[in-house]
Structure formats: C-alpha cells, structure tokens
C-alpha cells in the first residue's frame, strides 16, 4: 500500500467506524465511488477491526504478554546451566546452549561416536524425580523413535549420564510452517509438497496406531537446507489400540492445551476436529481433518474456522462449511474436493486413512506438473490456470549464451506438448531399457523470440544449439530415464580465472537438492527465460549427471542463492569446479541428436557434457 492509498483508506475508515450497519455501508460506498479496490480495502480493514476487537487482539500491554521472556535469561537463573561449552557429556561434546525450556536445558551437541550434530535435552532434576512425567517422557521417546520416517523428528537416544537424564534428537535448522506462512504466500506446488510430506509422516504414525492429535502449522517444521518437512510434537500423541477403543480427549492433557491464551496469539483451537471440539472419541481421522484445515489455510491465506471467540470457533467447526476454496483462491477443483473430503464433519465421510489422501494429492501434484509443462511449452507468456513452481526469476546476473553449432529442428510447441504428455504417460518404456552402468541424459532447448521486450510468436523447441539472434531468449530442458544427481553450471566466456554460475540445483530449482527422480523434468529457468549476455564470446552450460552425489559440486550449491545470482564467488571453489569438469569431460559421451531432443550416453557412473553457446 502506498502512503497516499493509506491516507485515503484511513480517512474513510475513521468516519465509517463511527457508523453502524447500513449507514456504514452506504457511507463507504459513497466515499469509494467506482473504486472497487479502495472499497475492498476499507471493508477488509473494518472487518479486521471487528475481529481484532472480539479476539482481544493486543489487549493489555506487550510486557504482560512476554514478561516470562525476561526471566528466562541465562543470568537470571544461572544455577540451571548444567553443562558448559566444550564439555564432554557421555559421548557428546557440548557445542552451544540453545536455551532453557520448561523441561530442562537444551544444547547443541556433537555425538563423537557418529560425528553428527544433535539437539541434546537434559532434563531438570525435579522432572527426573517425577515418576509420572518421566513415564510420559519415556513413552514419548518410545513413540517418536518407533516412527522411523524421514518426515518425523528422529530420536537418537534416551539415556542417563552422571545421574542426568537426557534425550538426543535430530537437530533441525529451520522454521515452522507458521513462520513460513507469515513470510510469504505459498505456491500451490509448495503447498502440495508440504502436505504430501505431512501425510507421509501421519501415514507412518497411523500405521503404528499413533494419532498425532495436534496437527497445525506450528508443529510442522521446514528444514532450511533442503525444505524437508518434519512433523513435530508427538507429545500429545496417544497410542491407540484399534479404532474400536478410541481415546477420549477429556482424560488427556490435550484439553489443557486447547486454551486460548490472552494477548496476541490465536489459540490452537482452530485445527480441532468436530469430535475433538466436542471432547468426543477421536482416532486417526482427526489428523486427516486437521491436515485439511492446514491445506485450506495455506491456500486461502486464512483459517476456515475462526470465530470471534473460541466458542464461536467451535460452533463453526461443528456446523459451518467454510467458503469454497475455489472461490477464495485460484486452485483446481480437485484440490477443493480433497480438502472438503478431509474436512467432512463426520469422520466416516472423510478420508479413512492418510494413505488415501496422500494418493489423491500425489495424483493431483503429478497432473498439475504435466499440465504446467504443456502450458509452459505452448504458451509461456500466459501462464496456465495453475502455476506450478512459479519461482523467482533468475537473477539478472545469470549470464547466458548463445549461438552455436549444429543443424536445427523446429517442432511446433503444440506437437511438442502432446509428445511430452504422451511420454509422461508411458514412463516405463525408457526406464527398463537402460543398463545401470550407463548414464543417459536428454536435453532440448525452448526458444522464445522477443520484440520490444515482449514475447513474440510462439516459442519453438530445438534438439540442441543453433544460431540465435540477440532478441531470442531460451530455456533449457533436461531429463533422464534414470534417477541420479544433476548439476548444471554456466561458464562465462573465457577469462583469466574460471568463473561459474550455479544453475541447478538451487533454492528455487529442485529445492536445493541435486537428486533427480527417474523421468523428472528439469527446466531452467522454471518460469522465465534466459537472456543472452551482452558480452560476446562462447559460453558453456555444463551438464553433470552422476549416479551418486558429487561432493566437489555439492559445495557449490551454497552459492545458488539470489544474493550472488548463482555466481560462485569463492576462487578456490571455482577452481574445484573447473578441475572437476575438465578432468571428467575428457571421456566424451555418445551424442545422439534427434528431431526433438539430444540424447547423451556415457559408460560408467558419470556423464559430463558442455553445451557450447556462442552469442554475438
């Protein structure tokens, strides 16, 4: 919002707030005239005012709300710091103190046996003495460690050293989905990826007859490094025998958890299923409900059930259907169907298992991938209805290309699209024929002409490099029938020092992972186009496809951020990449140039190939 717009909105708001009902509506309508967006802005703010009042938002004073923070300081309670930096604790070395929690102290530590970093929690002595709490702790450790699933926080060890009880768990450097949501609006593809991982965790838990019971964005953690999702807090989880002997919320500590705290936070009541809200019998299907609520919130940007008070919210949960997702956001009808099924009031009408919901979401994810691919290829200037992974545009710093060598084969976009679609539907054809000791990679180039900085004519697809005009922009497509690790670098025109730009993986391409599934399409850039560098010369786009990850190249990933535009700024690392590429490109792969794509084949576990691009 601009300050001018703000002034406009605030002038109308100021008077409107003094009026009631129809008078208010009439006043707002009169003041805004034909400016619908202004009117929407004012109405939204008036609505927020009403909600903020009834939610007691910012009632009281900040210090009241966060006063406890003031006393938890290290020096406020110095007697609680049991371990110090560098100290040996059993087989752990304390690296840092992460803080003091209700249950004890948390440290960042290194397990010297396995040389891995862990979060080490040392329980305070009064808790260790409390039989009931210890029992609960053990139970929780048992529950969590029995769930050996990549999307569930791993418990490494539960033990005792020098009379101190401790738990060592995986250390997650990341943020919760709640914080993630506050930072940005998620793309549909991201929403699906996150939910699919949450459901995978729930599927494993439910298999083990464990109900989480408190699925919400605060309990979903996204690891910074690779965006892997971890479901947290099986603290409320209960082991259930079978659906027949279900749990009662009343006797659990869950009830105390669902309170609405004063101050600025919203309670956690909004994710409760109807049966939870009624303190009824609950089972796995309550987690399905909460997952549905979470998807809804991610898509719509607001929670489906959110009343002025917790009792209003409960009434909504029990009786109201939220506004249709397709009304509040641009999403496929299929997603709406999935979410509504997950949020059916009666557990019997919901997905009965996390697996069923998982299957539907995966199918949707796949379908959208294909559609987006067709959409992009046939008309990249008008994104298809569903935009998958519309990631940030490549930073301008990314230099690229062009001109080149060999004969070209132009295929119309439409034909190309259909072809892709077909091959997607028959992925097994290629997969079976490739021996393991060989690497196969195909690539093709999509070209878009530009005129007056606008896309001009339909894009076309090439098997390989051609003679490009200055006003062409391109996109590189890479795929392999095999799984493996892919790295793509751009090397600038020959200069004194080798300098590389990391094109793949990056935080926006494959979420920072080099790992590629069989038949997974990589498209760089995903949504925009590469511009040709104004600088003349031959540039190379290096393709490296390896059966295993390449340590030398993994290090380069750190540079694939928007700060450097992917440019590796460390001279040593540039040399490492340079040496790797030049020593491994000596064994040239077999090149087969088809009509629509170029296929590279190499013997052994590694394939390295430079696409040479010259521009004038």
């Amino acid at each position: 919002m601009t300050p001018e717009r703000w002034q406009q909105v605030s002038r109308i708001f100021k008077s409107a707030i003094e009026l009631d009902g129809e008078a208010r509506a009439a006043y707002v309508a009169g003041q805004c005239g034909a400016d619908n967006s202004l009117r929407a802005e004012v109405e939204k703010l008036l609505d927020s005012h009403r909600q903020a009042s009834s939610a007691n938002f910012m009632k009281g004073v900040a210090a009241e709300y966060v006063a406890s923070l003031l006393v938890d300081d290290k020096d406020a309670e110095p007697e609680q710091r049991t371990l110090i930096k560098g100290q040996q604790f059993g087989s752990y070395v304390i690296l840092d103190s992460l803080g003091v929690g209700g249950m004890g102290e948390v440290y960042l530590a290194r397990d010297s046996r396995l040389d891995r970093t862990v979060a080490l929690k040392v329980l305070s002595p009064d808790i260790s003495r409390d039989q009931r709490r210890m029992q609960r702790f053990r139970q929780e450790a048992k529950v969590a460690s029995s769930l050996n699933q990549p999307n569930i926080l791993t418990v490494y060890e539960f033990g005792e050293v020098d009379g101190l009880t401790f738990i060592a768990t995986e250390f997650i450097d990341g943020e919760t989905l709640r914080e993630y949501l506050h930072k940005k609006k998620l793309k549909l593809a991201e929403i699906l990826d996150i939910t699919i991982q949450v459901l995978a965790a729930l599927d494993a838990a439910h298999e083990a007859r464990i109900v989480h019971r408190d699925i919400k964005p605060e309990n979903v953690m996204i690891r910074r490094r690779d965006r892997v999702v971890k479901v947290l807090d099986f603290g409320l989880a209960k082991v259930t025998e079978k659906r027949a002997s279900m749990l009662s919320v009343e006797e659990s500590e869950a009830a105390t958890e669902f309170k609405t705290a004063p101050g600025i936070i919203m309670g956690t009541i909004n994710y409760m299923s109807p049966e939870q809200a009624q303190a009824g019998q609950i089972d796995e299907r309550t987690d399905i409900w909460s997952t549905g609520v979470m998807i809804y919130e991610m898509v719509a940007g607001k929670m489906p059930f959110s009343g002025a008070t917790s009792s209003h919210t409960i009434v909504q949960i029990l009786e109201k259907d939220p506004p249709l997702l397709t009304r509040v956001a641009q999403v496929p009808a299929e997603l709406e169907r999935i979410v509504m099924k997950a949020m059916a009031k009666s557990p019997d009408e919901r997905y009965q298992t996390a697996k069923d919901m998982l299957i539907d979401l995966r199918a949707l994810r796949k379908r959208l991938d294909v559609e987006a691919e067709i959409g992009r290829t046939s008309s990249p200037t008008t994104p298809s209805a569903v935009v998958i992974n519309e990631t940030a545009q490549r930073p301008q710093k990314t230099r690229i290309l062009v001109i080149a060598l060999i004969g070209m084969a132009v295929v119309t976009a439409a034909i190309f699209g259909i072809n892709i679609w077909r091959s997607r539907n028959n992925p097994t054809v290629n997969t079976a024929t490739v021996p393991a000791a060989e690497r196969t990679l195909t690539y093709w180039i999509t070209v878009q002409k530009f005129k007056d900085n606008k896309p001009y004519q339909d894009p076309f697809t090439l098997a390989g490099e051609i003679n490009f005009e200055a006003n062409y922009q391109i996109r590189l497509n890479v795929r392999s029938p095999q799984a493996g690790h892919l790295y793509i670098f751009n090397e600038g025109p020959a200069s004194a020092q080798p300098e590389f730009v990391v094109l793949f993986p990056s935080s926006t391409a494959n979420r920072g992972s080099s790992s590629l599934a069989a038949s997974q399409l990589v498209q760089i850039p995903e949504q925009s186009w590469f511009k040709f560098d104004t600088q003349q010369g031959v540039e190379k786009v290096w393709l490296v496809f390896s059966q295993d990850g390449e340590a030398a190249l993994e290090m380069a990933k750190a540079f694939a951020s928007s700060q450097t535009g992917g440019l590796i700024t460390d001279p040593d690392l540039n040399n490492t990449v340079h040496n790797f590429l030049s020593s491994n490109s000596a064994a040239k792969p077999e090149v087969e140039k088809g009509d629509r794509l170029t296929t590279l084949k190499s013997t052994g576990k590694l394939l390295v190939w430079p696409i040479k691009l010259e521009h004038h």
């Binding site: 919002m1 910012m58 004073v61 900040a62 003031l70 006393v71 702790f137 450790a141 603290g235």
Partner: protein, 193 residues
C-alpha cells in the same frame, strides 16, 4: 550508588532532547535502557513467571529514579515516557530474539520431546512479527505506529498518549483502532501485503 549526578545528567539530557538535540537522545537511550531492563528483570524474577508486568509502574519507577524531581516538568515526563515506550519495545524484542532459537514458549505443563529441537517459541515469534509489522506501519503512518508503541509497549493510556503527541484523545482512539485493525490483518495473514 550515587544517584544525584546521574539524575542531574539524565534530566539535562531530557531537556536537551526536548529542545531538539538528537545526540542527547543517543546518550539518554543506553542509560534508560539499562535502568528499565534492570527493573523489569528484578520485577519479574520477584514475581516469577506467569505474572503480569506493570509497564507503567515500571517506567514510573525508572523515572523517579533517573530524573531529578526538583526540576520536573510535565514535558520532561511525557518525553521520558515516549522514549521509555520505545525502549521497552527494544528490550522485549531483544529478549524475544534471543529466545527465538532457544526454546519453545510456555508449555511447562506438557512434556514435549520436541522442545529438544530448536524451535521458535510462539510468544517470541509473535512479538517479533508484530515488531516487523509495526515497522512497516511506521513507514506508512509514523504517528499511528507511535500510538501503538506508546500504548502497547509503553503502557500509556490514551490521555497520556494524547499529551505526548499533542493531539486529542479522540484522535488517539481513532489512530489506535485503525492501527490495530491493520496490524491484525498483517499478523493473521488476512491482509493483502
């Protein structure tokens, strides 16, 4: 502790700042920060967790301790409260940030294994987000953001705020309503950017 020279110094600095000397504020800031911080900590460790912290009482005490009462003027007092509100905000945000990676908030009632993983506590995260939103508001509308600061962080009532900002109480009420609605939008994600 010899209080007199300090009192004199702070009173002097307040007067200079009121007269438009910005560097006086730079000197004043750390002095008031330390005092407020110390008092807040003392209050809270005495009261223990879960109790409320009376911000105005706290600032009042700091004021009495720091400012030479013989030369007291209302203008001095209102300026002191204005800067104290800003400093209380700073103190709480500093704490929230420090805690952000240290632990999860509150829940001592429940044994949670994941407290062991470094997770941002709710309270701290909420407060940090509020602070961010308030910064954005300050860019759009400095006065309304100041109203929020004085009221929410400084614990001043509308009458006091009106005195500090030289506006009517009605204006303060309206500013607060608008600012709070906007912040609510930002924090609940129901707002469009």
């Amino acid at each position: 502790m010899t209080r007199t020279p300090r009192q004199h110094e702070i009173t002097q600095l307040l007067a200079e700042w009121r007269e438009g000397n910005q560097s006086a504020l730079d000197e004043l800031y750390p002095l008031v920060y330390d005092e407020l911080h110390r008092l807040a900590r003392r209050y809270m460790s005495r009261e223990r967790k879960g109790h409320t912290l009376q911000t105005t009482a706290l600032i009042n005490e700091a004021y009495v301790r720091l400012v030479d009462q013989k030369n007291v003027q209302w203008a001095n007092r209102s300026h002191f409260f204005a800067i104290s509100a800003q400093i209380m905000r700073r103190i709480l945000i500093d704490h929230a940030r420090r805690h952000a990676y240290a632990k999860r908030g509150g829940g001592a009632k429940q044994v949670s294994l994941e407290e062991a993983a470094a997770i941002v506590p709710n309270q701290s995260a909420e407060l940090l987000r509020l602070d961010e939103a308030l910064k954005s508001l300050a860019e759009l509308d400095p006065r309304r953001s100041q109203v929020v600061e004085l009221r929410y962080f400084g614990g001043l009532n509308n009458e006091e705020i009106a005195g500090v900002l030289h506006v009517s109480e009605n204006t303060v009420t309206r500013d607060w309503n608008m600012a709070r609605a906007w912040l609510y939008q930002q924090l609940t994600g129901s707002g469009a950017n």
